[in-house]
Subunit: 164 residues, 4 copies
């Protein structure tokens, strides 16, 4: 039986302490729910923590879609995919997933992933996003964009997409 | 002497009449200023009009970066680049340009291009964008993002990036 | 502990019966050796069989790097990565792997993968390739290209790259 | 009227003196025939010379499809397209062209372009290729692959693809 794939996106370099804690918890909860977790794979910020959380759970499986061969890979990535296509890899993260969860506000890279997710018709869950991001992406993606205020709420929302 | 490259991005399918008129005028003014004009190249919306404007000027040169071989190409594109990498081609549009001009609000594809432009450190000019977009991208890109309320103002802002 | 990644490439549409049997056997042996198996992921030819072989082994883990969202995915792919970058995805297959094994002669797509592997400095193992391919790629990649005449020999050759 | 696009591919670093002279002459003849010339765009080998040849002709128009923003651009490229997708850009060179001309033997990068051209169903002209390459690609692409022994012969062969 094929396990469903979720991606978690968020800041590499400027994540907050709360965002990092949320990412770790997201990783744990999603792995416990049987999701394969896809991320940008770098050894930084939200990417590092969501992978660490996922691998703290028995059976957690993590895939990193890396921008280049020279990117440092997060230690808890099981399958590092080396794209060498830079930020264009953001579209692969999105297309590979049934649902995309944004953890925190993120920067420009994260914003591009959320926009690409909407463009691709993927459901999007914004966890602890600031109000400006919420209203911007809600307007762009209308009812495909959902808001969560805790990792638990995000994972509950994700569950509706777990079975195709 | 190498001519500088600018890109113009905006809605394919849901452009407003005002947006389309702005795109045509942008194409004319940028071509008259000597810019090579890069766009997504499809025969739709802002892309079609900016190319049409540019080619109404003697010496206008237009490049379209197309998502796939099956995309209909805007008739006024001189050089259609067939990427076959889908929305990942948005990053190529951005990286190829000295400055990116967004014409109107645009949808999710346009938003991904603006986010990728900021990620790549490219200057961004928002022409006739709605307030939500302005504040979202201003916050994301701070002083690299400038606001214009007419094609003439946008082209004047672009001029500062014409000579490297 | 991170498991090493190998890719197996070969014909989708015109594989021979011997090639398909070799692919199945390769999948079994590589999975038994602990490799994660990467392929083009489509439900055709060498791709389908190597994944089927790998999943016939307890603990086999398979990743498919698909050209587009509309590609039919081989049923034994655990992690389908949807790139939507067409044949450009061949470079991702290669870069993601420590060593590339070509199963049979393959067509133009396979040839592009072997050339890209040599370009990227990856070791290459040609299993049951025709003489023209052997001499062409040997000349191109010199001592990074090795020849095998059975799945067992290919897997033995691959072992030298299993520990970095 | 849209000008047709041809690409010229070949060695960056290890081109022979004869190959470089052929590339310069190809650039001149193709530009004189009205082709837009696409290449890998780097300031090296066949790429540099074909662009130099093309720009020695009044009205020559040259496009370079560069692997990354850090690649040195050949001085005679009019339109440098910055892909940042590394060797995956080889597929864009091929897809953008009506016909692909290989100038000399080339290395692994060139071989990947020729294989991708055949995969994409593009006509291929091999100028002054070694016998091993000729027979390898002839077998792969059958009657879409043609052989030329001078720039003049290559350009004459290309003419049949100039009008769609």
């Amino acid at each position: 039986m094929v396990r469903p794939i979720v991606s978690v996106v968020g800041a590499g370099e400027n994540a907050t302490a709360a965002g990092l804690a949320n990412a770790f918890r997201l990783g744990q909860l999603l792995a416990a729910d049987g999701w394969i977790i896809v991320s940008g794979g770098r050894d930084a910020g939200i990417m590092r923590e969501v992978n660490r959380g996922a691998k703290s759970i028995q059976g957690g499986l993590t895939v990193g879609i890396l921008p280049s061969a020279s990117s440092a890979v997060a230690p808890d990535v099981d399958v590092p995919i080396i794209t060498d296509i830079g930020q264009a890899r953001n579209n692969i993260i999105v297309l590979t997933s049934r649902v995309v969860i944004a953890c925190g506000a993120g920067g420009a890279g994260t914003a591009s992933e959320l926009a690409l997710a909407i463009k691709a018709g993927k459901p999007l869950i914004l966890l602890a996003a600031d109000e400006a991001s919420q209203s911007f992406f809600k307007r762009l993606g209308s009812d495909r964009v959902q808001i969560a205020d805790s990792p638990e709420a995000a994972v509950t929302l994700a569950r509706q997409f777990q079975i195709e």
